[in-house]
């Protein structure tokens, strides 16, 4: 914990029920001291609410452990975080829609997830209300001569998740973009309530299909943190292998897809083949192409046998042999780089202020990777680099992915070299004694995923919250597209590849 944070928290004690991270109840003065420093030395990792308290996970930007601070909610109101820290904007709107409580000076009172289509409102509150009448959405807009609007979505021309984008343009130039999401809201946090960790795991694994391994890992680690369960050594190594396979598959898919949005189909075709090879090998070695439900609370459900190991080694050799030509092709095609360089540029300042993770942050000078910053096994025993660039444009986000592909291949080799035989699954401990809370922060392919949960006396989940890296990426995407041309939106958008499902929950 950094000195600043420590000083602010002096005189408070961590609550006994928390295992994986310290949670402190704080008064308004301390809460506001912390909020005032967000983006200026402190990073906000998540903001969510219970009926009685609002919780914020924070960590010093220059390192240290994650801390959770809680402030009580009085008459449905808490001291706004978003009023001081724009990155908290979406979280605060989500809290209002799901919990029915709001920040006192919240800068954006518009409904976000609640489009007026549910049979109730404030589904996470202990007393949900009748459905509310939701007024038509008002976009923030832009005024000036010749400004016109382009509405896009929620059904898009391509095969992607649904969301609405409203462009305000002058000629070809985007003056303002506003995303309107919530279309994929599935009520996941409510569904998780009342379930045992094992019943809830398949739901958590479907928060985002492309990150199913990452979410299953985050959920499992939060459960294990809450119950104080030690999983077998081999399970840790298998989990890392699964996580790196998922990263490889997604990064390969993304690099190809970004180039495809610049009409460079050759890269897309070749990276599509690499991705297909990875999924095929995943299916042979772990029994599912996306490796769904392999990571479970207590370990992993599917062991890797000798045949599977051989499949993976062949896969890695193949990838290593084919990648250099493709990287060369990207590097030596000026017409492609012409589209990716200086397009959708995110400033290092904004990246730091938002505490944004993943390739978006690392392409803009923020060297945060949960595998290194808050290491968890087996990454604490593995040697790898976290690539980081300064340019912040589409090109930088491509290069971060390419370098991470190389790092993941290197990690996979190391894992296969060091993994030892043994058990892969144990039952969770202490699930029916007293209420327990657990937390996890892990690195998915998009960035750091936060997961927090509380188990009741009966071992069932009373509250579970997850925060996807996209919660910070979405507003930044809106920011970087400003002054770019409309035709560059697809390539910017793909280079961010934000999650809809994991953001809407």
């Amino acid at each position: 914990m950094s000195k600043n944070l420590q000083e602010i928290l002096r005189g408070t004690r961590p609550l006994a029920s928390q295992h994986g991270a310290n949670r402190h109840r704080v008064d308004t003065e301390r809460w506001q001291l912390i909020t005032g420093r967000l983006g200026r030395g402190l990073d906000m990792l998540a903001l969510w609410a219970d009926p009685a308290e609002v919780h914020m996970a924070v960590r010093a930007s220059d390192g240290g452990a994650l801390v959770i601070v809680s402030h009580k909610i009085k008459d449905g109101v808490f001291p706004s975080v978003a009023a001081h820290h724009p990155a908290a904007g979406l979280a605060e709107r989500i809290i209002r829609d799901l919990n029915g409580v709001h920040g006192d000076a919240t800068p954006d009172g518009r409904l976000w997830l609640d489009h007026g289509n549910w049979p109730l409102s404030a589904p996470l509150s202990p007393t949900p209300q009748a459905a509310q009448k939701v007024p038509p959405y008002t976009f923030l807009g832009a005024e000036g001569e010749g400004i016109h609007q382009i509405p896009v979505g929620p059904v898009h021309a391509g095969i992607i998740e649904p969301g609405h984008f409203r462009f305000f343009c002058v000629g070809e130039t985007v003056v303002r973009l506003e995303a309107r999401l919530g279309y994929t809201h599935k009520g996941i946090e409510k569904l998780l309530e009342g379930k045992t960790p094992l019943q809830a795991a398949p739901i958590a694994a479907r928060i985002s299909g492309d990150s199913t391994v990452a979410y299953a890992l985050a959920f499992a680690r939060a459960c294990e943190s809450a119950t104080g369960t030690e999983i077998p050594e081999r399970a840790h190594w298998l989990r890392a292998l699964l996580a790196e396979l998922e990263r490889l598959a997604n990064h390969c898919g993304d690099v190809g897809a970004i180039c495809n949005d610049a009409a460079f189909a050759l890269m897309h075709a070749h990276f599509g083949l690499l991705r297909e090879d990875i999924l095929h090998a995943a299916n042979l070695s772990f029994g599912h192409r996306l490796m769904m439900d392999v990571i479970v609370p207590g370990g992993v459900s599917h062991d890797l046998d000798t045949a599977g190991e051989k499949v993976l080694r062949t896969l890695f050799d193949g990838l290593r042999a084919r990648l250099p030509d493709l990287i060369d092709l990207y590097d030596n095609t000026p017409s492609l780089q012409n589209r990716t360089r200086n397009t959708g540029t995110l400033s290092a300042e904004l990246a730091a202020k938002f505490g944004t993770g993943g390739y978006v942050g690392r392409a803009a000078g923020r060297e945060f990777d949960a595998r290194k910053a808050t290491p968890y096994p087996p990454y604490d025993q593995l040697d790898f680099d976290v690539p980081c660039l300064e340019a912040g444009d589409v090109n930088a986000r491509i290069w971060i992915r390419i370098q991470e592909i190389e790092q993941s291949l290197h990690l996979c080799d190391a894992i296969l070299g060091r993994i030892s035989k043994g058990d892969i699954l144990v039952p969770l401990e202490n699930t029916d004694t007293k209420p327990r809370e657990g937390v996890a922060l892990i690195e998915g392919f998009r960035g750091d995923i936060f997961m927090w949960l509380r188990l009741g006396k009966d071992g069932r989940i009373t509250r579970c919250h997850s925060r996807d890296p996209s919660q910070y990426h979405w507003p930044l995407l809106e920011a970087v597209i400003e002054n770019n041309i409309v035709a560059d939106f697809p390539i910017c958008n793909k280079s961010f590849n934000c999650a809809y499902s994991a953001s809407d929950l």
Binding site: W118, I159, T184, L191, G209, L273
Partner: protein, 169 residues
Amino acid sequence: MRKLLFKSIFANTATTDAPAPSPAALEELGKQVNKKAKALLGRSLAIRVVDAGSCNGCELEIHAVDNAVYDVSRFGIHFVASPRHADVLLVTGPTTRNMVTALKRTYAAMPAPKWVIASGDCACDGCVFADSYAVEGGLDAVLDVDLHIPGCPPTPTALLQGMLALMTA
């Protein structure tokens, strides 16, 4: 680039053999798709995909159907950008309540005759999300479905088998 293209010419083709149409799909379709429809479908199929709140796993595998290995376009099947061009509406996800209006409008914008595929366990019956306040729990609650392709997500082969069944039923 020339080097890579040159290599590709002499490499073995990546594309798999065509799978047989799914028997289960043929049976489901046999009951519904009439002769006239079969004649109209001919040898090509234009598909409009709508994600009605999926976890995006289903989309990933639909993308895979389009890659060089499964190469769906060799069968005359294309994913189209507009519902106006589509014969088939392929829907994924547990049909979130927030997507119902957009989904119905997309269907309405398609010219008849038209068919509807529910793709993935979510679209078939809501999968793990079925009990939520925020979903309809499957596509049947909103549209008349001609073909259900189960799976979480359906593999590219399963998707191909379903689509081929629609063309041969």
